[in-house]
């Protein structure tokens, strides 16, 4: 999808007023957060597991070229094809070409965030292919012509009533009178319609949760089984994955699987966790004749240099957004692109550009919950702060903010003067705001106070209070 991240503020405002969305968002807390906590508390050494996850990813990223070459050789050995895509356009061209060469008419798709990232559906549609999303959540939002609002539960923003309406319109030409159908009824109807698509598709496209250099395999983690029907029934299986999904060997993949299922859906293991290696063997009685994997760069190699390499550890579990107060308030669509929440606020500026995503690094209270649940210990708040710094350095912050910060910096480098100015300023604001305890408006900070009240300072400066405490302690 095209990024709408530059519209974060109006989108967030709209989301806060959307009652259907607000109702849907309460379920993220009830479901994912609670279930994850039970399993993490049960696990003997979850902190040690997180350390190991981090170490595996750090090691792999530091040797990414070696392991990618090993992975490529192993895929070829198993009879598969490896494609490399530097950009969104290259990824689209590769996959559309494969479909054309196979004379494909219908494509079934498992959920792939990398596919969302490179706007794969748009490219397949433009090439005249019938493209069907098969993950139930993805199918629902495909009918609604909406992007996913969560990386694990793409239709989490939809209510049952909305899904009833969508199915009525698309499956029954609007003839059903029922306004609210039961969940089993809705799931069963989608199952019937999609079963037919699975059986008749020419090409199946999936993402990959993890790639293994040792064997040239990819892991696919699902609960519905749609991923397995997508890669097992059509003539051709095409997988698409970011280059950072790699781990060295199967034991390392085990660590990632233990972290992923618990952190994502609060399960010890999903219903289906599958390792796919190449196309059907000569003796196999089913499975695709051809296997292709498309490895995506799309800005990732750039992130290897410097502090943002840590972001490439991400295993796309969604725990950071499930625990984020900002995501919980506004949902995923307000972020304006494929990846919402804390991980999206770091990743989107890296891929789409900091100049087009100005609000994202600032849509964070720095409360640190995301970092405390991240299975691979990505310091998300630090990275968001770094992005804010980079915004300042690139001159992307508003003039008044820059002007204000420069004045502050000038004083901060002169401690005596800083102390004096703070005493005068705090004293003045304290006296002015004594009656109400807060300011509705402040000169030069109109944009800031438009959305919040500024609390009136209490009596004295922090530094003076600190000195006072030190004196009292030593006395």
């Amino acid at each position: 999808m095209e990024s709408r991240a530059h519209l974060f503020k109006p989108q967030a405002r709209e989301a806060l007023q959307n009652t259907d969305l607000q109702q849907a968002l309460t379920r993220v807390q009830e479901g994912f957060v609670g279930k994850r906590k039970v399993l993490v508390d049960q696990f003997p050494d979850f902190e040690g597991l997180r350390d190991r996850g981090q170490a595996i990813k750090d090691h792999t990223l530091a040797h990414l070229d070696v392991y990618l070459e090993q992975f490529e050789a192993k895929v070829r050995e198993a009879g598969g094809h490896v494609h490399w895509a530097e950009t969104q356009q290259e990824a689209q061209e590769i996959i559309v070409d494969i479909c054309r060469q196979e004379n494909a008419r219908m494509v079934t798709k498992g959920k792939t965030m990398a596919g969302e990232e490179v706007q794969l559906n748009e490219a397949l549609d433009a090439a005249g292919l019938e493209t069907v999303e098969t993950d139930l959540g993805e199918y629902i939002i495909q009918l609604a012509k909406e992007p996913p609002s969560h990386i694990i539960a793409p239709a989490i923003h939809k209510t049952r009533q909305q899904i009833t309406e969508l199915f009525n319109e698309h499956h029954h030409h609007g003839t059903l009178k029922e306004k609210l159908r039961e969940v089993p009824d809705l799931v069963d109807e989608a199952r019937g319609i999609l079963r037919d698509k699975f059986l008749n598709a020419d090409v199946g496209i999936t993402g990959a949760n993890c790639l293994v250099a040792e064997t040239g395999s990819m892991f696919l983690v699902t609960n519905e089984g749609n991923g397995d029907l997508t890669h097992s029934l059509p003539r051709v299986h095409v997988a698409i994955a970011g280059i950072e999904k790699l781990v060295p060997n199967l034991d390392d993949a085990s660590t990632i699987l233990r972290l992923l299922a618990r952190s994502a859906t609060g399960q010890e293991m999903t219903a289906y966790t599958t390792m796919v290696t190449g196309p059907a063997r000569a003796e196999d009685t089913d499975g695709p004749e051809a296997f292709h994997i498309v490895l995506i760069d799309n800005g990732r190699t750039r992130m290897l240099e410097g502090r943002f390499r840590e972001m490439l550890r991400c295993i796309r579990c969604g725990a950071c957004m499930n625990h984020c107060p900002v995501y919980s308030a506004i949902g995923g669509h307000a972020y304006g692109w494929v990846y919402p929440g804390p991980m999206g606020s770091v990743l989107t500026p890296m891929i789409v550009g900091l100049d087009k995503t100005r609000d994202l690094p600032n849509a964070c209270t720095l409360n640190g919950r995301c970092q405390s649940v991240c299975p691979v210990r990505i310091p998300l708040p630090d990275l968001l702060r770094d992005l804010r710094e980079e915004q300042h350095d690139q001159g992307l912050t508003p003039k008044t903010t820059r002007y204000g910060l420069n004045i502050w910096a000038w004083f901060a480098r002169r401690p005596r003067l800083y102390g004096l100015a703070a005493r005068v300023g705090i004293g003045l604001l304290g006296r002015l705001g004594r009656r109400r305890g807060r300011f509705r408006k402040l000169p030069l900070a109109g944009a800031w106070t438009a959305g919040r009240d500024f609390p009136a300072p209490q009596k004295t400066t922090f530094q003076a209070a600190w000195q006072q405490r030190k004196k009292e302690k030593s006395a």
Partner: protein
Amino acid sequence: MSSARDRILGKIRSNLGRTTAPDAAAASSSRLAALGDETSPRPVWDDDDLSRFLRCFEAAAATWARVDTVADTGDAVATYLADKPAGNTVHLAPHPLLDDVSWPNTLTTARATHGREALVGVSVAELGVAETGSLVLFSGADTPTTLNFLPDYHIVLLRMDAVVPHFEDVWARMRERGGFPPRSFNFITGPSRTADVEQTLQLGAHGPRSLHLILVAARD
């Protein structure tokens, strides 16, 4: 013009601050240095592996029955299907172990090289994993993958002595087995499910609506 492959690998190298790739041996010794020789922290349990396996298996909404010999499987399947609208035809994976089953005449059997026509599918698991209660199924001439996903009722045979504790034990066994890795290697933990409508759990999303295990005690 260089290929996308060379450009990507080139960028990786230059952004990692080197011009050539270290060899695989150097990478693997640096992996050992970073991760040590120990295995990943993992679940532990007080009772035996089979009990843990069955506890997790049941927690995933799957059911099981124990039989003494492979031959007894037929009656166990008939008992399981008796109260279900599953018809009386069972599609069997072309696995040699299933040749030893004696089927009651209430059931009709058909050999299936895929799952397209199957309402009831019977396949054979390679291993069970105690840590998660997962069945391991290996694609191949005698175990077609689509038979694991297309039937409404998926019935799986597992020998009791084929339950291993952890994922790492699965890999250790598999690295010694011929034909590994197969095209599709499935860990199956309960029937198909979705929570995509209002986070409400619903079984039978796209794959089997139920998963039933026949646990075979004897090594015959």
